[in-house]
Symmetry: C2
Subunit: 414 residues, 2 copies
Amino acid sequence: MGHQAPKGTRDFYPDDLAVLRYIENAWRSASINAGFQEIQGPTFEHLDLYTIKSGEGIVNELFSFKRSGGDVDYALRPEFTPTLARMAAAKGRSLAVPTKWFAISNHFRAERPQRGRLREFTQWNVDMLGIDDPAADAEIIATAIHALTALGLTSKDIVVRISHREVVVKMLKDAGVVEEQIDIALSILDKREKMTPDAFAEITSKHGLKPDVFAQFDTDLSIQHEELTSLKKELNAWGIQDWCTFDFNIVRGLAYYTGIVFEIHERSGAERAIAGGGRYNKLVEMFNGPKIPAAGFGMGDVVLSLVLKDKGLLSRGETYLSEPEVFVVSASDEGDAIIASIISELRINGIHARRSYKSTRNVGKLLTEAGKTKSRLVIILGKELKQNKVVVKNMENGEQHEILKEDLLTYINS
Amino acid sequence: MGHQAPKGTRDFYPDDLAVLRYIENAWRSASINAGFQEIQGPTFEHLDLYTIKSGEGIVNELFSFKRSGGDVDYALRPEFTPTLARMAAAKGRSLAVPTKWFAISNHFRAERPQRGRLREFTQWNVDMLGIDDPAADAEIIATAIHALTALGLTSKDIVVRISHREVVVKMLKDAGVVEEQIDIALSILDKREKMTPDAFAEITSKHGLKPDVFAQFDTDLSIQHEELTSLKKELNAWGIQDWCTFDFNIVRGLAYYTGIVFEIHERSGAERAIAGGGRYNKLVEMFNGPKIPAAGFGMGDVVLSLVLKDKGLLSRGETYLSEPEVFVVSASDEGDAIIASIISELRINGIHARRSYKSTRNVGKLLTEAGKTKSRLVIILGKELKQNKVVVKNMENGEQHEILKEDLLTYINS
């Protein structure tokens, strides 16, 4: 009873974690190569960090708690942006312009687990603060694309759907939606693609909204908007225009976005969004910081892993694991006596060195065991130890050499 | 209001996180070089995973919660061992012998924050399952020492204090402690070093225990115990005898230890334990798994960081940050038009490339900015672009070359 991982969370055995680390490394390299620096915040925050700014969509999904006997409300972080904005606000005017930060952290949503959505997941966040220009939005999007490229994806697999809050609001108003209903209309538009036609009909009629208010967003539109025109130019400059499209179905659920918003999807639309982001120029200020414009995105590991798997871009987990440089086996009493000291010296010198824990002295069996680990070299501690020598077998070409025990480290490093 | 990190948690700005990553890298390398493979579990577990096995000491410090409207009790993980034992139990008989796992994860204790103790911290766990032999305990301890060595610590700075539950219990019984009071006596012994003499006197008298029951543990003792004699031989074989001492003051607070236990301390005793661990041969079985002997330790980042700082073994955080290979500046209209495409091409080819976001075309100022980033090369997009060329300045030796734009990538990689 109770002895399994909580619903919607994961146990990562070595093969599973190797895949996650492979993805995280692609994220980290893309971030660092683009001049972003890594930050991290607490796994839980004060509850009001989310209730005030993120909007209903996220607040309903929070895991919240108090300390036993305490009266402060906390919540496991459902997303990273509020933490980042809080940290930026705390730095105030001392924040460099631009400030380029990324984070790779676990997040939590208390929702029903389903394909692409878990209760705990890992998310990559990339944010640029201090520059209010579509050039910054383009650089953010390019950084996401560079990571996806490193993972083997192309513009044939992936589309970045770009929209703008102002344009969507103007379209809704032009279609007759009154000011008081804009928020609910945005929320319906945001969820429409994930709804059944019946559920959609029900919610629109419930709020007295005509369905054709939303139908307009499906038509191919060439809206004139200064920031979008400028962004289009920048996407061309970055050479990522093939990955990007303008699509006013996209609004993003979070309350704090102020301008350009985007989602990254698998092109067929079969999965949930791989990433989502946009410009949030007022959030740092809302946390009592100075006026600092900002834009960023979050990319989760769950949908991305599904897409990579579907496209055959993930190998078996074990292929991402580190293989030993050296495997040490003992085939003599003298070997048993010094195997620990040999291994200790190799490891302390930064060499990945494993050993057999079997009590057999059958060198054939021991070499088979070494072979399974894909070790580059095997060191055999045998009768040659009487001449103070060990046998080193190269597993790639099968060559064997007798080496003085003292020369082992030099030999391995050469 | 509420716009700061929760009490006892930390915001890691880039300089701070760089230090943590430096420590984590030492942990990860030592683990991988010793043939351990990384695993990870959920950040929260079912509450009963801890209430059943870990003992009072940890249960009082749990952050626990339910999902809103749900009835399942969860707790943020205070330690890793129960997760690891649960994961091992789930594999049952298919688990390899030995199984060598490590994890680097954040953990949570709802206690009063103080020097060396926070409410959220990062912990390295190293565990070997399947071998019930002091040789395994020695390899575990050696792995901890290899990581500490990589961080610059020596046996002059650090001591591994080794004890054995059986020996301590026998000593208590020989001193007249009755069976029913063994658990409370162990708990007092475990906390004694952190107590004031008054608090110690109060708790011993409260439980009717004579203080001299505990005084005996301070005397230099040469207890005869088969496992400890065997461990001593193994510590010599690993060449780590100078780091280790037998010390029966050590019992470890956790209920699941069954044999050898140890703590790693700064030698002067000024700080809390850097690490703690031991043998827990019955825990996997308690989680409905097969009988699998196991031993391991956990090492937190908080005390270790304090010790490294005190000994002058940590540089300023920024020195651990990645420096750019290339810094690109534009000093012409032609440069402005192509800077994004140049940077995009470099980054997509895995090169750490930054740019100036300043609107100035003063090359002197731009070079000063580049110099601050410690970039190896600066690419200047100037009037030479009319001949399809860019200027590359080597910031180490000051040399400048004009390169055809098309040859830039080849030039940088050479």
